[in-house]
């Protein structure tokens, strides 16, 4: 008995010793290296597809566009001017109807477990990618639902007559009319280049739908693994045509719950988190940082210029002066929005710094009302939208604040709200006096703000619910679209903004911000002004940690690349 016990004890302690050494020993260096070479991103949802051509959802383009694909051209630099990407250069004919792209000759597609490319990127791929959208007869046009929402919204197929292949590395787009926002559209996240060779292989297998499920692109990362509702794993594209991405592995941890994203961020289970809550908590931690970027949207307070008393410019100006915008931003947006000086966000290249802005001035508002013939004030209704949008998280609260502000100048406000579809229908019929609404841009071209919100054509058919129609303003927009000279366009838009400021068909309130939190060890820009996030420039820097001294030579090499 005693011997048995002894034996048992010996074995037991040996096992324990082995286990402990297993847990503690033998791996200090490696552990750091794997997490140093990788980034885990806590994302807010699953992508609908892996092809950004098919969706305008931010979650989808965050997960796919800049990770898996490249466009022909991209937005570059602080001013977001157009720059080369897969196209080395481009040339626009004088009439603006023929645009020729000269393609790079050294771009390779992803090599994955489901596809091995045998050739480099060439003109066929460009034709394939765009004809899929344009050509009804194209073998892939009807795959995955035949919906190209972005391209449909900019009326791409009505604009482009055809895409021609000049030679293997030259492609020409022939347009039906001159449109300077065409290039801007090509530089968005949605105009990505797919592989024609991969398309052919899928056609042979008659598995066309796989093109949007198992993506092949030219981007800095390639898809390794996707588990619906759980994770997306990307590996670095080793033969990327630019410098390789700095991280080897990128994992999207799909965590739709806001609190679980916060917990994971605080517990260091993810390096970067999308749309964080509890901003104060994150800011007070020394190991985390919060960053934000102004989104391309605008929340505004519009007036029905076809109805009394808002057919009078002075009344519109007076009401605008009487509203305390700062208070609205602090209360409704909780300070998470940028003050809107005009309908165009200040981050746009076309924004003119000299645009005057209306301050909060109830005294002047009152005197303007007197001039306009309403010394006793009047009563009006405000239609507050019933849904939450980034540009206006709580329209009813905002309407109540405006109600209080206007009471001070003698205007009585009744707040009206309907169910969303009824609300929109009745707005389009012009039953309102004033309304709270907003606009999110589809692409960063400034025209995307001016035309849909306030042009005459939009007042008849589109989204212009102020029913304001100004010939001079419309002419400026037309001129701006016809020229490709950036500084000329900018001056036209500056004039248009001045007209809006003078006429006040609506009062721009705020541009919401997009927030992101990350550990301080993650460096490099991830958020961009326009479109989805990009992890191409992101890297992990060494934290002050003793184990960090064991940096393997291999990593050191890669870091210096």
């Amino acid at each position: 008995m005693a011997v048995l016990t002894m034996k048992f004890n010996a074995i037991f302690s040996l096992t324990i010793a082995a286990f402990v050494s297993l847990l503690m020993g033998c791996n200090e260096g490696n552990k750091l290296s794997l997490s140093e070479r990788s980034i885990i991103y806590c994302s807010e949802g699953s992508p609908e597809t892996f092809n950004p051509q098919l969706s305008t959802s931010g979650t989808t383009s965050d997960a796919t566009a800049k990770q898996l694909y490249n466009s022909l051209i991209i937005y570059k630099g602080k001013n977001n001017t157009l720059g080369p990407s897969l196209a080395k250069s481009w040339h626009v004919t004088r009439d603006g109807k023929k645009i020729t792209f000269y393609l790079r000759q050294d771009v390779s597609f992803h090599q994955t477990s489901y596809f091995s490319p045998t050739r480099l990127f060439n003109a066929d791929d460009v034709l394939f990618s765009f004809n899929r959208i344009l050509d009804q007869e194209h073998a892939f046009h009807h795959v995955s639902g035949n919906q190209y929402p972005f391209f449909q919204s900019v009326k791409f197929s009505e604009l482009v007559e055809k895409v021609e292949k000049i030679n293997d590395f030259t492609v020409r787009f022939i347009l039906k009319r001159n449109d300077s926002s065409f290039l801007a559209n090509l530089a968005t996240d949605y105009a990505v280049i797919l592989s024609e060779e991969y398309g052919q292989i899928l056609q042979e297998k008659s598995a066309e739908h796989e093109i949007d499920i198992f993506p092949i692109g030219t981007g800095p990362f390639k898809l390794k693994d996707y588990r619906v509702g759980s994770l997306i794993r990307f590996y670095r594209h080793e033969s990327y045509w630019q410098e390789q991405a700095k991280i080897e592995q990128l994992v999207y941890d799909i965590s739709p719950s806001k609190t679980s994203r916060l917990t994971k961020l605080l517990a260091k289970e993810c390096d970067v988190s999308s749309y964080p809550i509890a901003h104060a908590k994150i800011e007070e931690r020394s190991d985390l940082q919060l960053e934000s970027i102004t989104s391309l949207n605008v929340g505004y307070f519009g007036f029905n210029t076809k109805k009394e008393p808002f057919d009078n410019k002075l009344v519109r100006q007076a009401i605008s002066l009487a509203i305390n915008k700062q208070a609205l931003i602090e209360t409704v947006y909780r300070g998470q929005a940028a003050w809107a000086k005009s309908i165009l966000p200040e981050t746009s290249w076309a924004y003119d710094k000299n645009t005057p802005e209306l301050d909060y001035d109830p005294v002047r508002a009152k005197s303007l009302l007197e001039v306009a013939g309403y010394p006793q004030g009047f009563s009006m209704d405000i239609w507050a939208m019933p849904v939450q949008r980034p540009y206006n998280p709580n329209a009813v609260t905002m309407a109540k604040l405006i109600q209080a502000d206007l009471k001070k100048v003698g205007v009585t406000v009744k707040i009206v709200s309907y169910e969303w579809s009824t609300f929109l229908r009745r707005l389009s019929q012009g039953e309102h006096q004033s309304f709270l609404l907003g606009w999110t841009a589809d692409h960063p071209d400034p025209d995307n703000f001016f035309t849909p919100i306030l042009s005459c054509s939009a007042s008849e058919l589109g989204n212009n619910r102020t029913f304001w129609c100004n010939k001079e303003y419309d002419q400026l927009l037309q001129k701006a679209l016809k020229t490709t000279n950036m500084s000329k366009r900018k001056s036209y838009y500056a004039k248009a903004m001045a007209i809006i400021n003078e006429e006040m068909p609506l009062l721009p309130i705020a541009h919401s911000k997009r927030f992101q939190a990350r550990g301080i060890d993650v460096e490099g820009d991830i958020l961009s002004n326009f479109g989805g996030i990009s992890f191409y420039n992101a890297a992990k820097k060494a934290i002050n940690n003793e184990a960090n001294t064991i940096v393997q030579p291999e990593i050191a090499d890669k870091a210096s690349n």
Partner: protein, 342 residues
């Protein structure tokens, strides 16, 4: 031993029959069409529905229907999940090992902490340390597990940043699914980061396992304390003392071995309790196990999944129960002659 085995087997078969009868009757009790509740095919076409009615023998009497249901279960066909429309047996095979792994580790922790503490309390019977251990056990037993889990995350993950709060392993590691038991899969994989993965998986295991282990550990404290007190009062201990054996010899060679036998009987019972706690804990720690899946199914009103999940879980618990009975019988010859199945 043979009669003992036969007894257990017949007990197993009859219990399983009752369990399947229960899960069979659930299909009638849940809202909706019975055959759809059986199969989970909510989008079945008319032709498919006719086929389902035929294979589940819905046109015959209730005994034939039960027989058809039983045949499906025995063939491993639990129907498909109403929510995800994938076969439930596949989902269970993927999820059950994670729960088994977590529960076994928790059981080990509960036993290795609870039993020695109980022994110490028994040896120091009616002294301060006995009282302290007993009151700690009482405190531990009365803490609700969902609160403890959240508190553990708050302190150890968010506050101190020592341990991860969610999942089974960091997403950076790609471990191929072989057995489903993470630790085995890591050891079987050929990843260059094997040992890091192992360490990471262990770190993920600590918090949920400890949270689950707390309540059973306190029960083990009381069980082992009671059983040790009994043993120490027995005549053979007095005889050993009279022989002049010292304290250590009495405790380690005689008392512990005999006290442990009594405790092992209860391990099976405690395991059922532990799996229940594990289900709640899995939700808190986002553990990809069957408990979380079952609770999700309840939210989604996925009747087929609820029914089959319950069947599989109770079957699993019952098997563990019988296994501990066998271990008990192997260790304690007296139990083998027991005429009544306990």
């Amino acid at each position: 031993m043979l009669t003992f085995t036969l007894r257990r087997l017949s007990l197993f078969i009859f219990t399983m029959l009752v369990l399947t009868l229960l899960s069979f009757s659930l299909s009638f009790l849940f809202p909706g069409d019975t055959v759809i509740n059986h199969s989970g095919q909510i989008n079945a076409s008319a032709a498919e529905l006719a086929h389902l009615n035929q294979v589940y023998q819905m046109d015959k009497n209730i005994f034939n229907q039960y027989g058809a249901y039983l045949t499906h279960i025995l063939n491993g066909d639990f129907g498909q999940s109403m929510a995800s429309q994938s076969p439930i047996s596949n989902e269970i095979i993927k999820l059950l090992p994670a729960t088994i792994e977590l529960s076994l580790v928790a059981l080990l922790i509960a036993m290795s902490v609870g039993i020695p503490l109980g022994f110490i309390a028994a040896i120091k019977h009616n002294k301060t340390s006995d009282n302290v251990i007993l009151s700690l056990a009482m405190l531990g037993y009365s803490i609700p597990v969902f609160w403890l889990g959240l508190l553990a995350i708050l302190v150890f993950s968010i506050g101190l940043g020592w341990l991860p709060s969610a999942g089974q392993i960091s997403l950076l590691f790609e471990i191929e699914f072989v057995t489903g038991i993470q630790f085995f899969d890591i050891l079987l994989s050929d990843s260059p980061y094997k040992w890091q993965a192992f360490r990471d998986a262990s770190a993920h295991m600590i918090l949920p396992a400890c949270v689950i282990a707390l309540a059973p550990a306190t029960i083990f404290i009381r069980l082992s304390r009671a059983s040790m007190i009994d043993v120490l009062a027995a005549s053979y201990i007095r005889a050993a003392r009279a022989k002049g054996l010292n304290f250590q010899q009495i405790i380690f060679r005689h008392a512990i071995r005999n006290a442990l036998i009594q405790i092992i009987r209860h391990v099976g019972l405690q395991f059922a309790n532990l799996v229940t706690i594990a289900m709640v804990t899995e939700v808190i720690f986002s553990w990809p196990g069957i408990g979380r899946w079952l609770i999700d199914s309840i939210y989604q009103r996925d009747y087929t999944a609820i029914q089959s999940g319950l069947l599989v879980l109770s079957c699993f618990i019952f098997i563990v129960h019988i296994l501990t009975d066998f271990i008990y019988a192997a260790l304690n010859p007296l139990a083998r002659g027991n005429k009544h199945g306990s």
